[in-house]
Amino acid sequence: MKKPCIVFLFGFLLGLSLWAAGAEATVQVKETILRDQPTFTGKSLGILKYGAKVSILEEKSGWSRVSAEGGKLQGWVHLSAVTKKSVTLSSQGGSGTGATSSEVSLAGKGFSAEVEAQYRSQNAALDFATIDAMEKVRYRPDELKVFLADGGILPKGGL
């Protein structure tokens, strides 16, 4: 009686880990860096673009270890950069009807570049040039770490 019980438990755990490992996710930001450590100062292993599909291998304090590009790349991405909801890029063809609430995140649809352009044509006085200029200002996490350190600011759990 004891043996089958252990076998069953082992099988269950194996199944559970395979199920967790199989979880698919999609990059939901313009781009995110795949890192060798679950930290923003981890070394970059590559850049994952919006809509890139990844498989989640492990989750740890706000980070996911993922396999990307069909297993060619493995590393860590921050949880806020990926979604487990299904994302279909509209360039791959929209799904038409039948989108359920978890699948409705059709990239490029709804409030999109196309709608912004239309809105801008109706509001010509709005200063989108400053918005574009703002978006260009971007510091790397290692530069920000130096900024904090130069001011004598020491993050609680490091950076």
Binding site: S101, V104, F111, V137, P155
Partner: protein, 306 residues
């Protein structure tokens, strides 16, 4: 043991069957109600079809807005904020608020948004700061002058980052707008919307931007929302290594400077005293804010023109 497994499997199957039966029942109630309404002349076939569509779309909330859609909403909200005050384009000040703000954003619960966090100083003497959805954050020269330490500037920026993290802007959009937009995009298969649908979605987009800017600039968010942003700010400051008590000292300075009726923070935020009480309760005893000589030196240098 084997029997037990089978029994539990059967139970799961039974539950699943019961759940599907319930779903089918719900769907048929919608159909039957519409059918009855049509038969009795209360509704046309067309109205019945659109009401069935509404029944599917009605549960859309801000949570269904993707980060990409949030990004486009945020850009237009930001452009509207810029119509209330011109940008103050001083390279040293811009560099400083962006380095400080982007460093703080790494310690929020949502460090990565579609387009990232970006900060802009506004050429205005009023004491104010705004966050557009997705991470475009604005702070006035008046607000920067009010802050007497880098910790206090960090507190202001962390409060705005917390608004982005909690998607407070998106929550101000009326649910009915989202329902109609999601209905359109759910039924349009083509990559580009037809001209008519594009007009329709753009009108909903414009109204959504107004929903947000009227909260942001005129009426303000609810007290509960502001307290939530303060709570989020404390966590961000603590994790980044800034003294969260600076949120209280900034609010105390604000209290002495705000003029009732002025178009600034006083108009859109709860009384600073109430917020200080809340933060104090959250923090318990807090060390007094001490700015390091290096921080003071770089702050005064970067903000010399402000």
């Amino acid at each position: 043991m084997r029997n037990g497994t089978i029994v539990s499997r059967l139970r799961t199957l039974a539950l699943a069957a019961a759940a599907s039966a319930a779903l089918v029942a719900c769907a048929s109630i919608v159909e039957k109600t519409s059918g009855f309404a049509v038969a009795s002349g209360l509704m046309t076939q067309e109205q019945a079809a659109s009401s069935a569509k509404l029944a599917q779309a009605v549960d859309k909330t801000f949570e269904d807005i993707t980060p990409e859609q949030e990004y486009y909403i945020g850009r237009s909200v930001g452009a509207q904020v810029l119509s209330t005050a011109r940008p103050y384009n001083n390279a040293a000040a811009s560099r400083y608020v962006n380095q400080l703000g982007q460093a703080l954003a790494l310690f929020s619960t949502r460090p990565e948004t579609f387009g990232g966090y970006h900060f802009q100083v506004l050429d205005s003497d009023s004491i104010n700061a705004f966050a557009a959805p997705g991470g475009l954050i604005f702070v006035t020269r008046g607000m920067l002058r009010l802050c007497s330490t880098e910790h206090e500037i960090a507190a202001v920026l962390a409060h705005e980052i917390a608004h982005v993290q909690h998607q407070h802007g998106l929550k101000a959009i009326k649910a009915s707008r989202l329902s109609s937009v999601f209905t359109i995009i759910g039924t349009e298969a083509a990559k580009n919307l037809s001209p008519g649908k594009l007009q329709e979605v753009t009108a909903q987009f414009a109204d959504s931007i107004t929903d947000i800017t009227s909260s942001l600039i005129n009426s303000g968010y609810s007290q509960a929302t502001e307290f939530e942003a303060d709570k989020g700010a404390v966590a961000i400051l603590q994790n980044a290594g800034y003294n969260p008590a600076a949120l209280m000292s900034m609010l105390a300075a604000m209290k002495t400077r705000l003029k009732p009726g002025a178009p600034d923070f006083a108009k859109t935020h709860p009384d600073p005293e109430t917020r200080i009480d809340r933060v104090r309760r959250q923090l318990g005893t807090a060390a007094s804010v001490v700015e390091s000589p290096q921080s003071r030196e770089r702050r005064t240098r970067a903000l010399a023109g402000v």
